[in-house]
C-alpha cells in the first residue's frame, strides 16, 4: 500500500513539476493562441478590413472538436489509426533491420561499398511515390505494396545516415583502441557501433517523418477497396470525397498526433540507449 501511495505521490509531483515548467507552459500557451486565432479567423471573414480567405474557409476548431467527439466513437476511425500505424512501424522496422547493417557494411568494407554504393545512389533519387504503380503490379496485395513504399521512404535516409556516421567516427578512437590491443571485431562492436549510434537515431528520426508522408500518400492513391486500403490517408481522402471538410481536418490533426507519438518514441529510445548524450 505504501508503495502504491508513494508512486502516486511521485506521479503527482511529476505532474506538478510539469505544469510549473516554463517550457511546458509556453507550449500550451502557443497552442491556445493558435487555436484562438483560427477560431477568430473562421468567425470573421475580415481582419481589420482585410479579407482572410484561407482561414475563413477552414472549419473552426470548435466545429472540428465537435466532429472529432463523434468520430472517436466510430470503429472505422480507430481502424484507420491501427492500419496506418501498423504500416509505418512495419515498413520502418524492416528499413532499420536491413538499412543499418547495409550502411555499416558499406562504411567498413570498401569492396562492399564499391559493389553496392553506385546502384544505391541511382535508386535513391527516385521518390518513393514514383514506386507506387510499379509496386502495385509487383507485389501480390495492396497492403504489401503500401508497406514496400513505406519501407523505401525510410530506407535511403537510414542508410545514408549510418554510412556517413560510421565513416565519421574519429580515427583517434580507432587508433586508441587499437593501441590498447583491440581486434577488428572489437573495433567494430565497441567503437564503430557506439560511435555511429547518434547518426542511427538521426536517420531514424528523419526516416520516421518520411515514412508518415509516404504512407499517407500511398493510402490515398491505393484507395479503400474490398481488398485492402484504409488508413488515415484514406480516411482523409474519403472525407474529402464525401465533402465532410471538418472530418478532413480531424484526419489531418490525427496524423500530426500519430507522427508526434512516433517521434517521441524514437527520442525516448535514443535517450535511453545513449546515456552519454543529451541529444534532443
Amino acid at each position: 500500500m505504501g508503495k502504491a501511495s508513494k508512486r502516486q505521490e511521485t506521479l503527482g509531483a511529476r505532474a506538478k513539476a510539469l505544469v510549473s515548467d516554463l517550457t511546458f507552459r509556453r507550449g500550451v500557451l502557443s497552442i491556445l493562441i493558435f487555436l484562438t486565432l483560427w477560431e477568430i479567423g473562421f468567425r470573421f471573414n475580415e481582419w481589420f478590413g482585410v479579407m482572410v480567405p484561407f482561414v475563413g474557409k477552414v472549419d473552426a476548431p470548435s466545429i472540428v472538436a465537435t466532429r472529432w467527439s463523434d468520430v472517436v466513437l466510430l470503429p472505422g476511425y480507430w481502424e484507420s489509426w491501427y492500419l496506418s500505424m501498423g504500416r509505418v512501424f512495419l515498413g520502418f522496422l524492416i528499413a532499420q533491420i536491413i538499412g543499418i547493417p547495409f550502411g555499416l557494411a558499406m562504411a567498413v568494407n570498401k569492396y562492399f561499398r564499391g559493389m553496392f554504393f553506385p546502384p544505391f545512389e541511382i535508386l535513391r533519387p527516385i521518390p518513393p511515390l514514383a514506386w507506387v504503380p510499379a509496386s502495385i503490379i509487383f507485389w501480390p496485395t495492396t497492403e504489401l505494396s503500401i508497406m514496400f513504399v513505406t519501407f523505401l521512404g525510410a530506407f535511403y535516409t537510414i542508410v545514408i545516415n549510418v554510412l556517413g556516421g560510421a565513416r565519421a567516427v574519429d580515427i583517434q578512437y580507432l587508433r586508441a583502441a587499437q593501441s590498447m590491443g583491440a581486434t577488428q571485431w572489437d573495433l567494430f562492436r565497441k567503437i564503430i557501433l557506439p560511435g555511429t549510434l547518434p547518426s542511427i537515431f538521426i536517420g531514424a528520426a528523419v526516416g520516421m517523418g518520411i515514412t508518415w508522408e509516404v504512407v499517407l500518400a500511398a493510402e490515398m492513391i491505393s484507395g479503400g477497396g474490398q481488398q485492402s486500403g484504409g488508413g488515415l490517408g484514406f480516411f482523409i481522402w474519403s472525407s474529402y470525397m464525401g465533402g465532410v471538410m471538418d472530418q478532413v481536418i480531424v484526419g489531418m490533426i490525427s496524423i500530426g498526433l500519430a507522427g508526434y507519438i512516433s517521434s517521441s518514441l524514437i527520442r525516448y529510445i535514443g535517450y535511453r540507449s545513449m546515456p552519454w548524450r543529451r541529444m534532443f
Binding site: 574519429d170 583517434q172 578512437y173 587508433r175 587499437q178 590498447m180 590491443g181 557506439p194 552519454w276 548524450r277
Partner: protein, 289 residues
C-alpha cells in the same frame, strides 16, 4: 580495510630496464610516387629505459610521423625502430604491429565518449582478454582514485573537465602496464594553470611507474620541466638538430620554474627551435600532421 583496495602501481622491480627505444636511420616519405614528401630524413635517436624524452620542433616537422611509426599507425620508408632490442619495424616490415606495450595519448583526447571513465580505463585489459569485466573495472576504479579521480569514475568524459579527462586518459594508458607512453601534445589546448597541474600529476605518475615517455610538445618550458632530454628537431624533413640534457634532479616541482638553471636551459632550447621555426615559416608550408 578501506585502503586495502589500493592496487600496486603498474610497475615492478625491473621497470627501469624496459622501454628502451632505438630509432636508427629512419626515413619516411609520404606518397613516394606522387607528392613525394620527405617527412623524416635519416633520423636516429636512442631513448634509454625510463627516460622522459621530449621532442620539440616546428609545426609539421615530422614529430608526429615518428610517433606514428613507433605506435604502428604509419609505416616507415627505411631504417629501423627497436623496442628493448626487438624490431618493431624495419627493412622487411615497414609497419609496426600495434600493441598495448606502447600506448598513445592523443592531442585532442580520445577517451571514448560512450563509456564512463571507469569503463574507458577498464577497456584495455578487457579487449586483451587479461581480465574479466568485473576485475578490470575494480582495478580501473582503484587506479582512478589513486590519480585523484575516484569521484568521477562513473561520469562520462563529456561531463568532466578537460584536465580530469586527460588524467583519466593517462590512467587508461597505464593500466596496460606499457613499456612506453607515447604522448602527442596532450596538454596543448589547456590554460597555463591546468597545465601545471597536469605536469605535476604526470611527474607523480612517472616517479611511481618509471615508464619510458616519448612526449611531443611545442611548449619549451613544459619540455624542460618534464624531460630528461629535449630533442630539438629540424624543420621538415625532421632530423635531430640539438639535444638538450636536463640534469635536474627528480622529484621536481613548480619552484623549479623560477630557477636560474631552468631559465638557461629554456633559453638554450628556444634559440635552437627559433631558428628552425623561422625556416619553417619562410618555407610557408601547410602543417603536415
Amino acid at each position: 580495510m578501506t585502503t586495502a583496495a589500493h592496487q600496486q602501481p603498474a610497475t615492478d622491480k625491473n621497470a627501469s630496464t624496459k622501454g628502451a627505444i632505438s630509432i636508427r636511420n629512419v626515413t619516411k616519405i609520404y606518397d613516394p610516387k606522387g607528392a613525394n614528401v620527405l617527412a623524416v630524413d635519416d633520423c636516429s635517436l636512442e631513448i634509454a629505459p625510463a627516460e622522459v624524452c621530449m621532442i620539440v620542433g616546428p609545426s609539421g616537422c615530422g614529430k608526429t610521423t615518428l610517433l606514428n611509426a613507433i605506435a604502428g599507425f604509419h609505416s616507415i620508408t627505411s631504417g629501423q625502430i627497436d623496442l628493448d632490442g626487438e624490431m618493431l619495424c624495419g627493412p622487411d616490415k615497414p609497419l609496426a604491429d600495434q600493441g598495448a606495450d606502447r600506448v598513445v595519448v592523443f592531442q585532442n583526447g580520445a577517451l571514448f565518449p560512450w563509456k564512463t571513465l571507469a569503463d574507458n580505463v577498464a577497456y584495455g585489459p578487457i579487449v586483451q582478454g587479461l581480465m574479466n569485466k568485473a576485475d578490470a573495472r575494480e582495478k580501473a576504479i582503484s587506479m582512478l582514485s589513486e590519480a585523484g579521480l575516484s569521484g568521477v569514475a562513473d561520469k562520462y568524459p563529456g561531463e568532466v573537465s578537460s584536465g580530469m579527462a586527460r588524467r583519466a586518459e593517462i590512467v587508461r594508458a597505464l593500466i596496460n602496464d606499457p613499456k612506453v607512453l607515447l604522448l602527442d601534445e596532450p596538454y596543448r589546448a589547456m590554460d597555463a594553470l591546468t597545465k601545471s597541474i597536469m605536469h605535476e600529476s604526470l611527474l607523480e605518475v612517472y616517479d611511481r611507474t618509471r615508464v619510458t615517455i616519448f612526449f611531443i610538445t611545442h611548449d619549451l618550458e613544459e619540455a624542460i620541466f618534464l624531460g630528461d632530454r629535449v630533442i630539438v628537431m629540424t624543420t621538415r624533413p625532421a632530423r635531430t638538430k640539438k639535444i638538450v640534457e636536463v640534469k635536474i634532479n627528480r622529484p621536481r616541482d613548480y619552484r623549479l620554474l623560477s630557477s636560474e638553471e631552468f631559465r638557461i636551459l629554456v633559453q638554450e632550447t628556444k634559440e635552437a627551435v627559433h631558428e628552425e621555426a623561422v625556416k619553417a615559416f619562410e618555407a610557408g608550408e601547410r602543417e603536415l600532421a
